[in-house]
Amino acid sequence: MKLRSALISGCTLAALSVSVGMIAGWARPVDAPASVKGTVKFDGPAPKPSKIDMSQDPLCAKAHPTPATTEDIVVGTGGALENVVVYVSDGLTAHDFQPPEQPAVLEQKGCQYKPHVLALEAHQKLDVVNSDETTHNIHPSPNNNREWNMTQPHGTPLEQTFAREEVAIPVKCNVHPWMKGYIAVFKHPYFSVTGTNGSFELKDLPPGTYTITAWQEKLGTQTQKVTVGASETKTVDFTFKQ
């Protein structure tokens, strides 16, 4: 009798703690969400991108009437730095975010990766698309995820996921050695990749104090702390130098 009551109370406790955990995990949407936005800039004269020689595969070369250029440091007007991943690296209290149903898309076009830097959530579907006439192999080299390496001819569907957070996984095509890209994987939805104007915005944040990190493939990482209140928007800018 005593054993049964102890078991029942134990089970109730366990069920309660599980449900509390689930509620704590449902972090989206947030009441009175805060946001952090800003711009990433490059200080100094913009490095000149080098031309890529694609002559070993005529199907790649013919996609570029003027030669394609490297994308490791892309500086736009006013020093705007493109392809920088900006994300919350510390300060989140909730965990176990459900990944969005919308897949992230990585396209191989003109024998280059579009986008050059892609960010997605752990367990979010990644659709790999080959829009080129040639055959690619897509080969991420992760440290914290399983490595895979798949050949993809034109038009063949390919779907993958990454299980764990990692900033950022280098992606290459062994067939076309100039092809390089990065995939950043997060266990939360608070990340952004800067576009041509170098700007980013981290939306729907719960109020709190956060460490914001900016990652660039060649220029490294920078961090800043920021505290945002309910419905507040704060600006955080980053400047990278070579």
């Binding site: 134990g10 070993q56 192999n137 897509i138 080299s141 050949t151 001819p153 062994n174």
Partner: protein
């Protein structure tokens, strides 16, 4: 006899039951099963220290004393990344894959065949090798790929395979003539950053993951993880893979070697 448990006893049980379950789950990861044989990591460790430690190192990270002198480098077991698998790219191997590699050895590397060891000993080694990475506790191996019956080699199948060798860009690494001198060959590295050479198909048929046509077919499906050799699981159907196997065979005059027979266990 009736076991009496008071409230405290039951509470203690409730707390320790998950711990007990976790412990037994860990215990399962330190075992291996190949055919009818079960391996034991503790016994495997003694064998590892005796035979494997010089190259693969005490921590299983491939940094043994002989490692600086070897090319290709000894496998780093802490990454749980294996070339020779029957499972899809990006998944863990099944126990028999590791057993087969230990038994077969890896041609053109420092890894010899360990067929002279007892089968039980090789299965014990598999159990110990799996303890170097937590991946074997966290994930399950992939489902082994299916290998359908091989059609007969014909002039047409070799011709179709030759066309696929071009359209699938195999030539980029392996070269238009299959000699391993394709335009991308010089740029290739393994996942540790060490230079790696594409296979020269005219040199014979002693492939790293087995010599038979079925082994070649399987390599085309799984790819060799940790190397630039990708999986063609999504890229080709079974008939096309057999065509490529037939074409690659046609590049080599040496079709047969004195093969070391490795008897499968319990099959």
């Amino acid at each position: 006899m009736r076991i009496k448990l008071n409230r405290t006893g039951a509470a203690v049980m409730l707390v320790f039951l998950p711990v007990l379950l976790m412990w037994s789950a860990n215990g399962a990861a330190q075992e291996s099963r190949v055919g009818k044989l079960s391996g034991n990591a503790k016994r495997g460790k003694a064998l590892y220290v005796r035979y494997c430690i010089f190259c693969h190192g005490p921590n299983g990270d491939g940094q043994g004393e002989s490692a600086p002198y070897l090319d290709p480098k000894p496998r780093d077991f802490t990454k749980a990344l294996f070339k020779c698998r029957s499972t899809p790219s990006g998944t863990l191997p099944v126990d028999s894959d590791l057993y087969d590699t230990i038994s077969r050895g890896v041609h053109a590397s420092g890894m010899p065949s360990w067929a002279p060891l007892l089968r039980q000993e090789r299965v014990d080694l598999v159990a110990y090798i799996k303890t170097f990475s937590s991946a074997f506790e966290e994930e399950k191996p992939g489902a082994p790929v299916e290998i359908p019956a091989e059609p007969t080699t014909t002039a047409e199948s070799v011709q179709r395979g030759s066309e696929l060798f071009q359209s699938m860009n195999c030539w980029s690494c392996h070269g238009k003539d299959g000699r391993g001198h394709g335009p991308s060959a010089a740029t290739l590295t393994d996942s540790k950053g060490y230079p790696i050479t594409p296979f020269d198909f005219t040199s014979g048929s002693r492939f790293k993951c087995g010599e038979s046509d079925r082994d070649m077919f399987r390599d085309l499906v799984t790819g060799l993880d940790g190397t630039p050799m990708p999986s063609f699981a999504a890229a080709m159907n079974a008939d096309q893979r057999w065509d490529v196997v037939h074409y690659i065979r046609s590049l080599s005059a040496h079709k047969t070697h004195a093969r070391l027979k490795i008897e499968p266990i319990g099959k």
